[in-house]
Every structure is written in C-alpha cells, then in structure tokens.
Amino acid sequence: MSQAAIEMIGVNKWFDTFHVLKNIDLKVGSGEKVVICGPSGSGKSTVVRCINKLEKHQEGIIRLGGVELTNDPKSVEAIRSEVGMVFQQFNLFPHLSVLENLTLGPIKARGLSRKDAEERARHYLERVRIPDQADKRPAQLSGGQQQRVAIARSLCMEPKVLLFDEPTSALDPEMISEVLDVMVSLAEDGMTMVVVTHEMGFARKVADKMVFMDAGEIVEQGPPEHFFTKPKSERCRTFLSQILQH
C-alpha cells in the first residue's frame, strides 16, 4: 500500500472536560475499507467527524493524503473537497429538488457549469439506482432513497475518501439493504471508505479492517477474519456477542 489516505496519530479530543477521544491511532490506506463499531457514546462518530473537520481535535495529528489538518480555513476547505460524508439523518436540503441537491456543491464550490453538474448528477443518480427521481423533493422519497441521494450527493464532489456515519441507523429495516448494496458496489469500485455501522454482515463482506471502540479508545483493530472469530479483548467479545446474537 502506498501513501495512507487517512492517518491519525495520537489524536485526543475533549468536549469541555469530557475526554471523548483518547490517543486515537488509525491508518487507512488508499482504497481500503475500514469499519468502526462499538457501543453508543464510544466516540466512533467523533472520529469520523474529526476527519473532515466537523469537529476539531485538540491534540495529535490527522493527515489526509499526507497533508496535515490545521485550523487554517484554506486547509479545511481543501480537506473537505477530498472527503465526502454521509450522515445518519441524510441531511438532504429539503427546499431543493434531488437534482439541485446534487448540483449545489459542484456548481457553487467547484465552479462547474450547470450543464456539466447536471450531467454528473444524473450519472451518480444512476450509480445509486434512482435515475428517475431527479425532479422530486427529498420529502417525496423513502428513507432508503433519500440516503442513496445523499450518497450520490457526496459522489458528485468526486471525493477520494467517503465517510459514513451510521448510514443505515435511521432507516426502516426493509430499506437497509438497498443502501448497503450501493455501499458494497462503491467498495468494489475501489473507493476508500470509513464506515461507522452496526451492520456486521456488511462489515464481513467489505471491510479490510475492523476497528472496535469503547469509551473513546480504540480497543482493538485488525482484519475481519480475526476480529469476528477470535477478538482479543473481553469488551469486544461482549459487544460482538450482544449485536450478533439476533
């Protein structure tokens, strides 16, 4: 593996006095798929949000494609244009059509012409298998469709890395698989992905590396075959037995 796409070295973060991230060391190679799991409140979302600077870390180094994240607005913008993000609550823009949701960033932030942006948007809508919903408002779509639009919106920025923050947790069960299918096909295309999820079936299928977090620490990380069959730590074993027993 060449240069790491994402590198976190000794990252610490506090919300006031609450120590949310403790000495996080994480390396994501280019094209690698990393799945982060752990109990709620363990800091997994915060890790992902630090990578694209929605949260600031107070200590340690985060590098993206070898470039260190600083608080300089220029660097933040540069980072953001390389990193796409998919949220648990989709966060589509409700006042815009699906197509406008997809073209806003490319037109306003990238300076694409409307024509090029729309062409790109339609391409990615096809990619997430909803080419015929372009003119609808987000509220007219099902949750699964909305999340796929959100994925297409990220793809329209043509990022090098895609972050997923519990992308299926707000979905009705019957819609989870349509979103996961899209994610699997992205993974097969070689996209670098960091996914916070409890979908262990998905993790087994695509993850190159599993990361288990608890209480702000990375307790364990390793390839999925070891992770699922013989986890080293007690905490990880307990967690896995809880979410896998159904």
């Binding site: 913008e77 953001r80 993000m85 823009f93 006042h95 806003l104 408002r137 919106r153």
Partner: protein, 253 residues
C-alpha cells in the same frame, strides 16, 4: 371582515346617538366644503406614513440580518457584539432615540467634518429602522437556529463556505419561519411612525395635531386618526395572515 365591523360598531353607535351640540362631526364631514378640505388634509398624511414605514422596514430587515449573523457565531466575541447591540437598542424607548438621532446625530456628524443634515423624513426612518432592527435580529436568530445543525454540516461537506451555506441552504429554509413574524413587526413600525410627528414630519398624526389646533375638535379629528391607523393595520395584518397561510402550505408540501 366580520370582526372589523364589530370593532367599528361601538364608535359608530357613539357617533349616531350623540346630539349635535356635543359633537362636531362637521369638521370632517366630506359633504361640506371645509369638511372635505379637512379630510383631504388628514388623509394626505397617509403617503408619508406608509413611505416612512416601508423604507424603515426594508432597512431594518437588512440591518437585522447583519446584526443576527454574529449572534450565531461560534466565537464568543462575535456573540457579545450581537448581544450588546440587541440589548442596547431594545432598551431605548423610541421617543428618546428619535430625539437623539434628530438633534444629536447631526452634531456628531458635524464634529467629524461631515455635513449631513438630518431632515424629519430621514430622522424618522433612521430611528424606526434602528429601533426595529434589534427585534428583527432576534427573529432572524430564532429562525436560523430552528434549522437543524445537520443542514449546515451537509452544506460544508459539499464544499460550501459560510456565506454560500447561509445563502443557498440555511436562509431559504429559515425564511418560511422568519417572514410571518417579520411582517408582524411591520405593523409595529407603522404604529410607531406616529412618533415622527414630534420632529415635524407631516404624516398622519402630525396633520391631525395641526388640524386640532386650528379647529378645536380633538375628539372628532383624533377619532378619524385612530380609524386611519386601524384601517392601515387591518390591511397589513390581512396580508400577514395570507403570507402565513402560504408559508404554512409550502411547509406541508
């Protein structure tokens, strides 16, 4: 409409039952020549009242947004700027502020070597806009804060900067919640524009005052004055209700 009639009814009854010796409706009776001249004189203040109010409202809407934005900043310094402005401006009664702007501000300008006279027209507008902007700012702040944080985060992740996020994502959504209270605030401006009379602005109230001085018929003339404001405000609030319905319909869509 029915309610309007109910509100006007007591006044009409009063006028109808009275004997002609205590009432002098002739001063504003449009059928007589002087009465018609008086009515025209009173009504012709309507233009300035509306003009002052509209210009003040437009300035206040722009100024309010300018004041609201620092209040939403994550930086404490900016929030303090917003708080100080809002608390200060909100605490000053309109009349003292009007005196300060009309009589005081030109002195400050002169001391800075700028020769900008402030006439009653602009004095009234500046005061109304300033005083209203603190309230407008609070309306904006509440409206913008009501838009979920995820929206600005999503905007940032597709590369929009702060102003693009506001312009294309936050404000278009917030405006639905902001517009109705903002329009309501316009009613407040119209009513407060009556204060412009004390610095010599020839609007509705000033004209009524002047006519009272020459005709000695305060009850009749001020009754008409009150009715003038009533009609004006009723028209605006009908507009506000229409707006609220439209915005509500949009939201549900």
């Amino acid at each position: 409409m029915k309610r309007t009639v109910f509100m006007l009814l007591p006044l009409l009854v009063l006028a109808g039952c009275s004997s002609s010796s205590t009432w002098g409706w002739y001063v504003i009776d449009p059928r007589s020549e002087t009465g018609w001249i008086n009515v025209k004189f009173l009504l012709s203040g309507m233009g300035d009242t509306i003009l002052i109010s509209v210009i003040a409202a437009v300035i206040s809407i722009a100024l309010g947004l300018l004041v609201a934005l620092p209040g939403l900043s994550t930086k404490r310094g900016w929030r303090i700027v917003n708080r100080v402005y809002v608390e200060l401006v909100r605490s000053i009664p309109l009349l003292p502020m009007l005196f300060w702007v009309f009589y005081g501000l030109p002195i400050i300008f002169r001391s800075m070597g700028i020769n900008v006279p402030i006439d009653p027209f602009w004095g009234a507008i500046i005061t109304l806009a300033l005083s209203d902007s603190a309230f407008t700012a609070e309306i904006y702040r509440a409206g913008i804060q009501s838009i979920a944080k995820g929206q600005s985060e999503a905007a940032q992740t597709v590369g929009l900067n702060y102003f693009q996020t506001m312009r294309y994502v936050i404000l278009p959504q917030a405006i639905r919640r902001i517009l109705p209270p903002l329009a309501n605030q316009f009613i407040y401006i119209v009513k407060m524009s009556a204060f412009a009379s004390v610095i010599g602005m020839q609007e509705l109230t000033r004209r009524a005052n002047e006519l009272v001085v020459t005709e000695y018929r305060p009850l009749e003339i001020y009754t008409l004055l009150v009715l003038e404001y009533l009609v004006l405000v009723l028209i605006i609030s009908a507009g506000v209700r229409w707006l609220e319905r439209r915005m509500g319909a949009d939201e549900r869509q």
